[in-house]
């Protein structure tokens, strides 16, 4: 194993002093002018971030603990969301859809990425050229395009009627349709990340392992999988986060009950005018995303340990 543990940075071709200003690697004390320069250059971005991200987040957290009547401190908004039947069904439904989406997209993307990386045929080249297309289609356009195909009176149904059947896919207004649409969006993204990870594994390494008699399955389990693990985790994290809060797909394709949290949030906010409960729900969604962010940071740190080993 040790012969393949070359530095990760070499593997992906990042220069060792990446992230330092030129010459700073061998630390000379930065002058105050340099500090001021950096601070001034960062100031607009920092102010903007504080103003449009940090301030609203703080505001939302405070509001989520406020009583709608007099603004005093209360846990009632959270208690409602975590005990109410409708709300709990929606949370469970959302997590279920997101987990299924993450698992299916990663599985499919990984197989697709392996194929694109290790098979050099005309078909793989063709797929390699077009698999990113979904990233360039606006989401609302894609959702409506999908609907015209899968709805009970859609393209599939019309084709089946040409042959004397009346096939109704039954994919609209339930979880199956949402998951199908999520796969459409996320497979391209996950494949892109995993292909990049697999491309950084040199052919020579795989070939040398094969030369000394490693079986394909061993090459996969002991080399390819560990070397791409971090990127798979990154892909999973991003798919999880973007789907926990998704709105367009579940709003247009979902049923009436249960509903995903993005749609539920809109209902609380603009249909019931329960601003405090909406704030608490945002915080809960934020926490779900944080869990995946923590997993992401943790895997990143682990990678650093692994790099230290040599």
């Amino acid at each position: 194993m040790s012969d393949i543990s070359i530095r990760y940075s070499e593997l992906v071709g990042i220069p060792d002093d990446f992230g330092y200003l030129k010459g700073e690697r061998h630390m000379r004390k930065p002058k105050w002018k340099t500090n001021l320069y950096i601070a001034l250059m960062l100031a607009p971005a920092l102010l903007l971030t504080m103003g449009i991200i940090v301030y609203p987040i703080i505001n939302t957290v405070i509001r989520s603990f406020s009583s709608p009547e007099d603004g005093s401190f209360t846990l009632a908004n959270y208690v409602f969301l975590l005990t109410d039947d409708v709300s709990m069904e929606n949370i469970a439904y959302t997590l279920w859809i997101v987990v299924v989406t993450v698992v299916l997209s990663i599985l499919i993307s990984y197989v697709l990425a392996l194929y694109l990386r290790f098979y050099d045929t005309k078909i793989s080249k063709f797929i390699g050229t077009i698999y990113l297309l979904p990233r360039f289609v606006p989401s609302l356009v894609a959702v409506y395009a999908m609907i015209t195909i899968i709805r009970d009176s859609g393209f599939l149904n019309r084709v089946s009627r040409l042959f004397g059947y009346n096939f109704k896919p039954g994919l609209m207004y339930n979880a199956r349709g949402i998951i199908l649409m999520n796969l459409w969006f996320n497979i391209a993204f996950a494949t892109m990340i995993i292909v990049a990870a697999l491309s950084s594994i040199p052919d020579s390494m795989v070939e040398s392992a094969r030369d000394v008699g490693a079986r394909k399955i061993n090459v996969f389990l002991n080399m390819i999988l560990p070397l791409s693990f971090k990127d798979v985790m990154i892909a999973m994290t991003f798919i999880f986060m973007s789907n926990v809060s998704s709105f367009t797909t579940p709003f247009v394709m979902g049923g009436n009950n249960p509903i995903m949290l993005g749609v539920y949030l809109r209902k609380q906010f603009s249909e019931y005018s329960n601003y405090e409960i909406a704030a608490a729900l945002s915080v809960i969604m934020f926490l779900f995303s944080s869990v995946s962010a923590i997993i992401y940071i943790y895997t990143n740190l682990k990678e650093k340990e692994w790099e230290k080993a040599n």
Partner: protein, 387 residues
């Protein structure tokens, strides 16, 4: 030092769009004043079709040699996440401003209550109708703030159906219930929180047997009277449109229209103007027809009103008078299939046959304000979760 200067300039450049934007809003009002005529800023809100309508009407008005003012449109797109028009006007009013450019407002009659709720009872200026000669032709006097508003068009929820698949649609509420149960899966309405046509249908179920004063009341006591309406909605639930083995209520006004377009259902409640627009574009077949139920689904008049923080009513009268002239009413009808507020015989247009069954004086207005939230929440909790 040179570097410092450079980055100071850079910082200024990065921040300048914000400061310029903040400072630029009030400007430009003095400019572009055509030949000494006073400028009237018209504020309107709604979907894009309403913006197109006003752009057409204003071009027409400003081009008239006899016009006594120059109208300029400020349009607030609904549902774009920005500050609503009512919030903006209320903010200006509560800040004590009296000299704003909120000269004239176009809004649904049933929505005016929310403006007054926020900004106070004296927001709208009483109008001198003797200076609006065409007002004599207006068939419907608004039910809200009658002395302060002039209705210029109507909009209503109707029943839409395909006359080929459904030659004899149910005309009354009782017939509708019987038709739905004998034709499982052929009727759909959208969740009341997702669009006005579903809300109109649910409102009718809840209010049809209540006294007339309930329809324009925001008093919580009426919520208790909704029981029979909810029971009726629950009773028809198993007979509505299904997909994947479950009854579904498609989101948005367009959701049910899509079902009608794709022949998945035969009858839906829908906004009259949306159906007519779809027919005229060939998305719905010519055989699609609309009619009004007995009792009627709810509609509203859309009115012009003058807030007391603008430039006063005097300079707006000429434009208001134009808006209810046969000429402008024809533009409203032909652009967004608006129901005219004047007698159809005064309008010269082939389009009027399309709205001939929609008489604005027969509109049933339900304006229950914040009770709408209670209704949506109850529906989501009790109807949407039925198996």
């Amino acid at each position: 030092m040179k570097k410092l200067c450079v980055c100071a300039v850079l910082c200024f450049l990065m921040l300048s769009p914000f400061t310029l934007f903040a400072g630029g809003q009030g400007e430009g009002s003095a400019a572009g004043n055509g030949g000494g005529k006073p400028k009237v800023t018209l504020w309107a809100t709604g979907s894009d079709n309403v913006r197109m309508l006003f752009e057409k009407l204003i071009d027409e008005y400003n081009a008239k040699p006899g016009s006594t003012s120059v109208v300029e449109l400020q349009f607030v797109m609904s549902g774009s996440g920005g500050q609503t028009l009512s919030d903006r006007i209320a903010a200006a009013k509560l800040a004590g401003k009296t000299d704003t450019d909120f000269d004239l407002l176009a809004e649904n009659g049933s929505a005016l209550a929310s403006y007054v709720d926020k900004a106070g009872g004296d927001l709208f200026v009483p109008l001198d109708f003797s200076k609006i000669p065409n007002y004599a032709n207006v068939k419907m006097k608004s039910g809200f703030f009658t002395d302060c508003v002039v209705p210029y068009r109507g909009t209503t929820v109707v029943m839409a159906y395909d006359s080929v698949r459904l030659p004899n649609p149910p005309k009354t509420w009782a017939e509708l219930g019987a038709w739905i149960t004998s034709h499982p899966g052929r009727f759909a309405y959208n969740p009341p929180g997702s669009g006005g046509s579903g809300a109109g249908f649910v409102n009718l179920a809840l209010y049809k047997d209540l006294p007339p004063e309930a329809k324009v009341s925001t008093d919580e006591k009426w919520v208790e009277q909704w029981g029979p309406g909810w029971d009726w909605l629950k009773s028809i639930h198993p007979y509505l449109y299904t997909s994947g083995g479950k009854v579904v209520y498609p989101n948005k006004n367009q959701g049910t229209l899509d079902l009608l377009i794709n022949k998945e259902v035969d009858l839906i409640p829908a906004w009259a103007d949306q159906v007519l627009t779809n027919i005229s574009r060939g998305i719905l077949p010519e055989s699609t027809k609309i009619y009004q139920l007995t009792p009627a689904l709810n509609g509203t008049d859309v009115v012009l009103a003058v807030p007391n923080i603008g430039g006063g009513a005097e300079k707006t009268y000429d434009f208001i008078n134009f808006m209810i002239s046969p000429e402008a009413q024809k533009i409203c009808l032909e652009t967004i299939f608006a129901v005219p507020v004047i007698d159809a015989s005064l309008i010269d247009s082939t389009y009027k046959t399309m709205v001939k069954d929609l008489d604005i004086s027969g509109f049933s207005v339900i304006s229950n304000g914040k009770l709408g939230d209670v209704r949506n929440q109850y529906w989501d909790k009790n109807i949407a979760r039925l198996p």
